[in-house]
Symmetry: C2
């Protein structure tokens, strides 16, 4: 299919997706070639639709099609407790638990010297505003337990010092169902440090 430029172009686009290799991209592009014209039109318009219809919630930074996201517009949810995460994916992880009834704040990344992400790239100004306006009482820092996630959590904790808001961090320790002898030493150390009375 070397001579089919328009096919190569489509293969390139598919290959840009995560965990889609060249071979899979080729298979997908060929499948498009065999699809009904209507399905292809729908596909193409759905692609553009995602970009035009979806934007970030101005309050928490979650994706939404409305003025505010579903969580920020839900009056039942406690606006005094915020879980701060780096990505919207983390929000869905918490939402699956079905136990947290507060709200979220999405940073849109973590501080990273390597990736060149500084404070100004994160959604932090709006966090400060929310704390002031909504009289937030607890901020649960839920960035990943990685170097960048820790740095970001510590940075935010420092920033919020003296603002009269309680700052907590997710617990570290052994994952449930895990094995002590399989745990890496960093995790095991954290689990030991964080031990609790039974």
């Amino acid at each position: 299919m070397k001579d089919l430029k328009s096919l190569t172009r489509l293969i390139d686009s598919f290959a840009r997706l995560p965990s889609v290799g060249r071979k899979s991209a080729e298979r997908m592009a060929l499948a498009v070639l065999e699809m009904d014209e209507e399905d292809v039109k729908e596909f193409s318009s759905a692609l553009e639709g995602v970009k035009t219809a979806i934007h970030l919630c101005p309050i928490c930074g979650l994706y939404t099609e409305d003025e505010k996201c579903e969580i920020c517009s839900d009056k039942e949810r406690d606006e005094k407790t915020l879980i701060v995460v780096s990505s919207y994916r983390d929000v869905y992880a918490f939402e699956k638990l079905n136990t947290f009834r507060g709200r979220y704040h999405i940073l849109g990344g973590v501080l990273s010297a390597v990736a060149g992400i500084g404070i100004e790239d994160l959604n932090i100004d709006s966090l400060l505003e929310r704390i002031k306006d909504d009289n937030v009482q607890e901020i649960i820092l839920a960035t990943n337990p990685t170097i960048e996630g820790e740095t970001t959590a510590l940075f935010i904790a420092k920033l919020l010092e003296g603002k009269g808001v309680e700052i907590t961090r997710l617990a570290y320790g052994l994952p449930m169902g895990g094995h002590v002898d399989y745990a890496d030493s960093l995790t095991l150390n954290k689990a030991l440090e964080g031990r609790r009375k039974l």
Copy 2:
């Protein structure tokens, strides 16, 4: 992401691709959400481009962007020997061999009572025309060795009887590198029947 209709729409489109499950389709759609707007535009236009720019070669039925496909327009290739295949994918399998210098004819399917594919759905009229116009001397029937593929090959062989063209069929037998004790009995029987003097 239950409330994001435009995302669900895109997930549906991705899920229509072969070997893309719901989970992968979701991952892909989310990746699109995070892509640059330009990349998404390019993706969307590449999708439509494939449908508008690519059509079937009027001679052999292969996909092409030009008036005739690269093989039919290649004067170096022998027009007197045709490999008849069910799908364009088979053409690329043969082309990879780099040994066949004849041309192809793509049926666009095989006869199948189950799928409701009859003679009128296959690219057979144009095969008859080619045989007449190009003075074809050999037709190599290369449909798959399945019930449908065999039926189709036999049907075409019957149809071309007495038209002064030699009809051959790909050899059946053990795949190279295969093991006799792993071969299914149908294949082994064919290999036995088709044994040749050394």
